[in-house]
C-alpha cells in the first residue's frame, strides 16, 4: 500500500522529449489508469515509476521517501508486463518463486546444489511454497503450477504473471498493457477480474493502457496522457462527461465524440452548420468546435438533416452514421431501439440538447458555455 507522487517528471531520449513535466499523485489504494494513444509516453512513465528507466528530471516519491536512483527491486513494486515476461525455462511455480527466493534467500542458499543442503533453505522453501499456494488458490491456478509457460494459454500466463506480482506483497502494482495480448472475450473477462482483485487487495494499482474502454471500466481514476503531457486527471465518468481538452474528448468514449465546426457569433451565441444554438459563450467571437456524444443525438426531428450512410447494428444498440446535407461532416448517433433503424440512403432530421454540447476553442481547450435560461425552460417543456 503506497501513495506515489510524481513531481515534474521529464524524460528525453537523445533530443526527443518523451515526457514534458508530469505532476501526479496516486493515492493509497487508488486504481489509476494511465491512458493515451500509442507513443504518448505512458509506458515510459510507468517504467520511471518502476525504476527501470531513469528520468531526466523530476522526482518519484513513494510513501514520502524519494526513490530516485534506487534499484527497481528495492522499490518494492511489482510489475505485470504486456508479454507477461515469464521465465520460459521455469515452471509456473518457480516463476512465482523467483521474487521470493531473491528476497528471502542469501546468495549461498540460492546455489543450485549446495544451497539445498542448508537447513535454512529448507525452512524458507516451505514458507515460500505456502505463500505461492495461497496466491495460486486465489487466482485459481493451483493445478497449473508445475507447467512451463509454453504449456499455458494466454489467459493462464496472465494469471501466473499476476501471481508472480502478488506473492511478494508489493507496495503497489504496475500493469503495462497486461490485457492487450488476450482475445477480445477474455480481455473483457479479465477486466472484471482485475477490478475485483483490486478491491480485495486494496492495494495501489497503476495501469497503463491505450484502450480507453479498459481504463473507463476498471479504474477509480483516469490520467489521460497525450504527446508526453498529462492532459486531464479525474474519475472516469467526469472525464467522459467533462473533457477539458478536445483530444481527451476524442480519445475517451466509443464511438468517438462527434466534432463539428462551430462559430461564436458577435452576439456571443454559438452557431453550427448555420443553426444558432441556445448557448452563449463568454469567449471572444471566432471559430470554435463543438462536440456531441453519439448517445445525445436525437433522431427524428430537428434543425439538422442528413443522409444515412451506414448502420452498425450491435444487437443491443446500433450506431447510425449520418452525412450532413451540404457538408463533408459525418456524425454517429446511437440508437437504443434496434428494431426501428433507418434505411441506408434515407434522409432524416436530428437534433441535440443544448446541455449535450461541449465546446472547444481553436487551440482545443474547453470553453464554458451557458444555456440561455428562458429557452432552456421552454426546451424542457417540449421534452
Amino acid at each position: 500500500m503506497a501513495r506515489i507522487e510524481l513531481n515534474g517528471i521529464r524524460k528525453s531520449f537523445d533530443a526527443t522529449e518523451v515526457l514534458g513535466g508530469i505532476d501526479l499523485t496516486i493515492e493509497n489504494g487508488d486504481f489509476l489508469s494511465l491512458v493515451g494513444p500509442s507513443g504518448c509516453g505512458k509506458s515510459t512513465l510507468l517504467r520511471i515509476i518502476a525504476g527501470l528507466e531513469p528520468q531526466s528530471a523530476g522526482q518519484v516519491t513513494i510513501d514520502g521517501s524519494i526513490v530516485d536512483g534506487i534499484r527497481p527491486s528495492a522499490r518494492n513494486l511489482a510489475m505485470v508486463f504486456q508479454s507477461y515476461a515469464l521465465y520460459p525455462h521455469l515452471s509456473a511455480f518457480d516463476n512465482m518463486a523467483v521474487p521470493l527466493r531473491m528476497r528471502r534467500l542469501s546468495t549461498v542458499e540460492r546455489l543450485p546444489l549446495l544451497g539445498s543442503l542448508l537447513p535454512g533453505r529448507r525452512r524458507e522453501e516451505r514458507i515460500i511454497r505456502a505463500d505461492i499456494d495461497k496466491v495460486a488458490a486465489q487466482l485459481e491456478i493451483s493445478h497449473l503450477l508445475q507447467r512451463k509457460p509454453a504449456q499455458l494459454s494466454g489467459g493462464q500466463r496472465q494469471r501466473v504473471a499476476v501471481g508472480r506480482a502478488m506473492v511478494r506483497q508489493p507496495e503497489a502494482f504496475l500493469f503495462d498493457e497486461p490485457l492487450s495480448n488476450l482475445d477480445a472475450k477474455l480481455r473483457v473477462h479479465m477486466r472484471a477480474e482485475l477490478a475485483e482483485l483490486h478491491r480485495s487487495l486494496r492495494s495501489t494499482f497503476i495501469y497503463v493502457t491505450h484502450d480507453q474502454a479498459e481504463a473507463m471500466t476498471m479504474s477509480s481514476r483516469l490520467a489521460v496522457m497525450i504527446g508526453g503531457e498529462l492532459v486531464q486527471v479525474g474519475r472516469p465518468a467526469e472525464i467522459y462527461d467533462n473533457p477539458r481538452d478536445v483530444r481527451v474528448a476524442e480519445f475517451v468514449g466509443s464511438p468517438k465524440i462527434n466534432m463539428m465546426p462551430g462559430r461564436i457569433r458577435d452576439d456571443s451565441r454559438i452557431e453550427v452548420f448555420g443553426h444558432v444554438l441556445r448557448l452563449a459563450s463568454s469567449q471572444p467571437p471566432g471559430n470554435c468546435s463543438i462536440g456531441v456524444r453519439s448517445e445525445r443525438i436525437e433522431l427524428g426531428s430537428g434543425p439538422f438533416s442528413g443522409a444515412v450512410i451506414h448502420v452498425e447494428n450491435m444487437g443491443a444498440e446500433a450506431f447510425v452514421h449520418i452525412g450532413l446535407n451540404g457538408t463533408e461532416a459525418r456524425l454517429v448517433a446511437r440508437v437504443n431501439d434496434v428494431r426501428r433503424l433507418p434505411d441506408i440512403g434515407s434522409h432524416l432530421s436530428f437534433n441535440f440538447a443544448a446541455d449535450a454540447v461541449r465546446a472547444f476553442n481553436s487551440a482545443g481547450k474547453r470553453i464554458d458555455v451557458t444555456a440561455e435560461q428562458p429557452e432552456r425552460i421552454r426546451e424542457r417543456a417540449v421534452v
Partner: protein
C-alpha cells in the same frame, strides 16, 4: 504433358549433381575407413579397391593404441576443448548481454570492434601471442593451449545476435524480481540461449579439437599432445608410415566429434536459425 518429363529430367540431373558433391565430400572419410580396415600389404598394393580383402580394422586399432597413448591424447583434447569452451562462454555471455541489452556510451563502437575482431585470422596474431606466452613462461602447457582462445569474438557476436531477440520485458521482469545484472546473464539469458550456446559450442569444440597449427607451435612435451598432433606422430619419415594404424587413429579422434554432433544436431540447427545468420 511434357512438363512432368522435363521436371523429372531436371530432378535426375539435380540429384546426380548432389550425389557427385556428396561423394566428393565423403570420399576422404570412406577412404580413411577403408584404409583403416586394410592390412599393410593391401594399403601399398597397386590395385585400387575400397573393400579390403582381409579385414584388419581391429589389428590396426590395436597397433594404433599400442604405438601411442591415444587415451591420453583424447583426454588432452577433451580437457583443452572443454576448458576453452567454458571460458569462452564465461566471457562471451556477459559481453554479449552488455552489447545487446544495456545502453551505454560507446556500445556501437565496441560492437564494431567485435565485428572487426572476427576479420582477423588467428595466424596473424600467432607470433605476438607466442611471444606473450613465452614471457609469461607458460609455453608447453595446457595454459598455452587454452589461454589464447578464451575470448571468442565470434562467440560474442553470435550470442549478441541471439540476445537481441530475447524480449526486453524478460530482462525488466528479472530486474523487478531483484536479480542482479550478472544474475540476469546466468539465470535468465543463458537458459533462454541454450540453442545458441549449443551451436557456438559445436563451432568452438570442432575448431579446437581439430586445431593442428597452434598446438604444434606451443607444445614440445609428448604428454600434452592434442589428438591431431598425435595422429601426425604416426607419420614417420624414417621407418615408413603405417597408414593402416594412422587411419585407425584418425577414426578414433573424429569419433567423439561425430557423436557429439549427432547428439546436438537439432539444437545446432535451431541455434543458427534463431540467430538469423543462417
Amino acid at each position: 504433358m511434357t512438363t512432368p518429363a522435363k521436371l523429372s529430367l531436371w530432378s535426375v540431373v539435380r540429384h546426380i549433381l548432389l550425389v557427385a558433391g556428396a561423394v566428393v565430400m565423403l570420399l576422404p572419410f570412406v577412404w580413411m575407413i577403408s584404409t583403416a580396415s586394410k592390412p599393410p600389404s593391401e594399403v601399398f598394393s597397386s590395385e585400387l579397391h575400397l573393400i579390403p580383402h582381409q579385414f584388419a580394422l581391429w589389428e590396426n586399432l590395436q597397433t594404433a593404441f599400442a604405438k601411442a597413448n591415444l587415451w591420453r591424447f583424447l583426454l588432452n583434447g577433451v580437457m583443452v576443448t572443454v576448458s576453452i569452451f567454458v571460458l569462452q562462454v564465461l566471457v562471451a555471455l556477459p559481453a554479449a548481454y552488455a552489447l545487446a541489452k544495456l545502453r551505454f556510451i560507446g556500445r556501437n563502437a565496441l560492437f564494431a570492434l567485435v565485428l572487426f575482431g572476427i576479420l582477423i585470422p588467428p595466424q596473424a596474431t600467432a607470433i605476438p601471442v607466442f611471444l606473450l606466452l613465452h614471457k609469461l613462461g607458460v609455453l608447453d602447457s595446457y595454459a598455452a593451449l587454452v589461454l589464447p582462445f578464451t575470448i571468442s569474438v565470434f562467440g560474442i557476436f553470435l550470442m549478441r545476435q541471439f540476445f537481441r531477440n530475447v524480449p526486453d520485458d524478460l530482462v525488466d521482469a528479472a530486474r523487478m524480481d531483484g536479480i542482479s545484472e550478472f544474475g540476469i546473464v546466468w539465470r535468465v539469458m543463458l537458459p533462454a540461449a541454450i540453442p545458441a550456446v549449443t551451436a557456438f559450442g559445436i563451432f568452438s569444440v570442432v575448431a579446437h579439437w581439430n586445431d593442428y597449427f597452434w598446438p604444434l607451435i606451443v607444445l614440445n612435451s609428448e604428454h600434452l599432445r592434442t589428438p591431431p598432433l598425435a595422429v601426425a606422430h604416426f607419420r614417420n619419415a624414417e621407418a615408413g608410415t603405417n597408414y593402416g594404424a594412422l587411419m585407425a587413429a584418425a577414426m578414433v579422434i573424429i569419433a567423439p566429434l561425430l557423436v557429439a554432433f549427432l547428439l546436438a544436431q537439432r539444437r545446432f540447427v535451431e541455434g543458427i536459425a534463431l540467430t538469423g545468420i543462417k
